[in-house]
């Protein structure tokens, strides 16, 4: 076990996150103490390998992880700071400012330096301790959220713990964190739910026309209402700011569409407003980091027609090298009986324009998107 890992670690609240953390830390050799408000859940957690039942002989925890619901997190953080006067205390809530505010209100000022926020950005479609997995955090960001008086060494300790469980540590203050998750998680949830909710009106025949696009856009709409009322309520300020911007954009789109409705003279710029909506979406998608863990690289796939003659694919890859664009991934699509195939080439998004233009100049046929 890494000498940098705190031990024992006490986990309060063994749901999906607390449970998975316990399994991962136990596997790393850490002594994990398990506490949950429900004795049944505690027993199940222990059976699933999250940790052990704390006894009076146990040493005090070096780190306490409060993995209880966000509305009770601040109170439990304060209780933990008081109960174990040497422990570092963290929480895993998905919204940081309200928890920090709550801790500031409840805790003794001298205890405050021992609190530091965390947010492991990991999950799965099911929750509860029975869904817990030691590999839940693999390659996922784990945000470490110090506040101005967080004691020295706390950030490194949590970064070390994050790395040990396979996560990618990211350090941010509470305000930056809450704005970030509003953008990448909370607002997308609202929008997916809005789209899914609009499917209650149409007939079954209409819904028979559904495709993968609709399924993907609404997948996250299948979420727990109680959990999301808490999250959205706790992050209301940041979420509202993003939604208000979105509402303005939606107004422009509706206005442009009204103008185009069978009008011989649509308002100047109506088509432009719609084109910008889609084009901005194109650019936004390219800012999302690729799934290839680590870094914020964004990849796109170009599709090139490759004549089915010996050496053609090799020539394509050689020319890519000459152009100076790295091949991240390649998938070949053969069309049965055809004399051509398609090479689906994955490259860094920032090189897309250069490669498309260069291949076109060299006579290759690149598929449109």
């Amino acid at each position: 076990m890494s000498a940098l890992l705190p031990s024992p670690v006490r986990i309060i609240g063994t749901g999906l996150i607390g449970g998975s953390l316990g399994i991962a830390l136990s596997a790393a050799g850490v002594e994990v103490q398990v506490e949950d408000i429900s004795p049944g859940t505690t027993a199940l957690a222990i059976e699933l390998g999250v940790g052990a039942m704390p006894t009076t002989d146990d040493p005090d925890p070096a780190l306490v992880v409060v993995a209880a619901p966000p509305d009770v997190a601040a109170a439990i953080i304060d209780r933990s700071l008081r109960t174990w006067p040497d422990a570092l205390v963290t929480d895993v809530s998905s919204v940081k400012e309200t928890v920090l505010e709550g801790v500031r209100v409840l805790a003794r000022p001298e205890d405050l330096p021992r609190y530091i926020g965390s947010h492991p950005m990991a999950g799965r479609e099911i929750s509860g301790v029975i869904a817990a997995r030691g590999d839940l955090f693999m390659g996922r960001p784990l945000v470490v959220v110090p506040h101005p008086t967080t004691r020295a060494g706390a950030v490194s300790q949590l970064k070390g713990l994050a790395t040990e469980i396979g996560a990618v540590p990211v350090v941010m203050d509470a305000a930056a964190h809450d704005t970030a998750v509003a953008h990448v998680s909370h607002v997308p949830q609202v929008m997916a739910s809005l789209v899914a909710g609009s499917l209650l009106g149409p007939t079954e025949d209409a819904l028979a026309l559904s495709g993968q696009g609709l399924r993907d856009t609404t997948r996250i709409a299948d979420s727990d209402p109680r959990l999301w009322v808490e999250i959205l309520g706790a992050n209301a300020a940041a979420v509202t700011e993003v939604l208000e911007g979105m509402r303005e954009r939606l107004d422009e789109v509706v206005e442009a569409l009204e103008s185009l409705r069978g009008s011989p003279d649509p308002a100047l710029g109506s088509r432009r407003a719609l084109a910008d909506l889609i084009a901005d979406g194109n650019r936004g998608v390219r800012r999302i980091p690729g799934k290839h863990g680590g870094g914020t690289d964004s990849f796109v796939t170009l599709t090139v027609l490759v004549p089915d003659r010996p050496g053609e694919l090799g020539r394509l890859l050689t020319e890519m090298g000459e152009i100076g664009v790295n091949l991240e991934d390649l998938h070949l699509e053969h069309n049965l009986g055809k004399r051509v195939g398609l090479a689906h080439i994955s490259i860094d998004a920032t090189r897309e324009e250069l490669l498309t233009r260069s291949l076109d100049e060299r006579g290759w046929t690149v598929a449109e998107r």
Copy 2:
């Protein structure tokens, strides 16, 4: 070849849809004539197996498929009706009312019965003839759109053609079609683009927190602006109606959030408004038909804890049978070293509540969502 299939079939416009149709029909033994405004595309299409170059000795087509962009479709439909006075003429445009209106304005009334709209709801992330595949329509809906004076037999002919290429025919009038695609395709596109566009503001650090939820919600935002300006402009009426409802809902959500922002006395019903947003989304998602082609069944996955003792999984399945719920699919998740596993059970969505309750009563542990 089925005696019901029209032949020859002339395809005007060999992009992804026209090209794929040609490949599929050629494979079914139909004589396909290829026409495209670009000689280069025509040559490529012929090389890819879409069909043959029409000659003056060829018989007139029995069916003309206008697969050109929607803004020129009506004119090409009219030209085809006049050029081949016995042919049935259809198009593949994704919006039907504007095309029908255009045809009504241009065509001679006596020609109108030979026009019937189609819309194969199939696609892929790349377009153009080089992306064409004979299996593009497999299991996908193909909407057949007669108008009040469409001649007898035309609907059956197109349904037969749809079936031959592996598609699932659905008959709808133009208005119903346009409303349906507004709901399942056009509005989701707008919303995905709005969310993706909102990612232009945040920092790279913020975007580093992105997860699969964001990727799924914004996947379709990577679409062609020119194509979507045409589609949205052509379906402006139906799309506006859905977007206006969505805007109202968004207003309620923003209002509820403003009320919850650090207020000791949030407006009565604010939490309720948010919970309803998510809950309606849950219900909406369940209305989307399952991917298992055919029918409009919607499936959900329940996850049940299964002790790793011999016979336990068998007992679960037996009890499911006793409860009277069919097992559509099963995936087992083993947790290394644990004495339990998870059974991910796929069932008909309408049976979810019954099964969850019954399994719970019988002592099984069902994961929360």
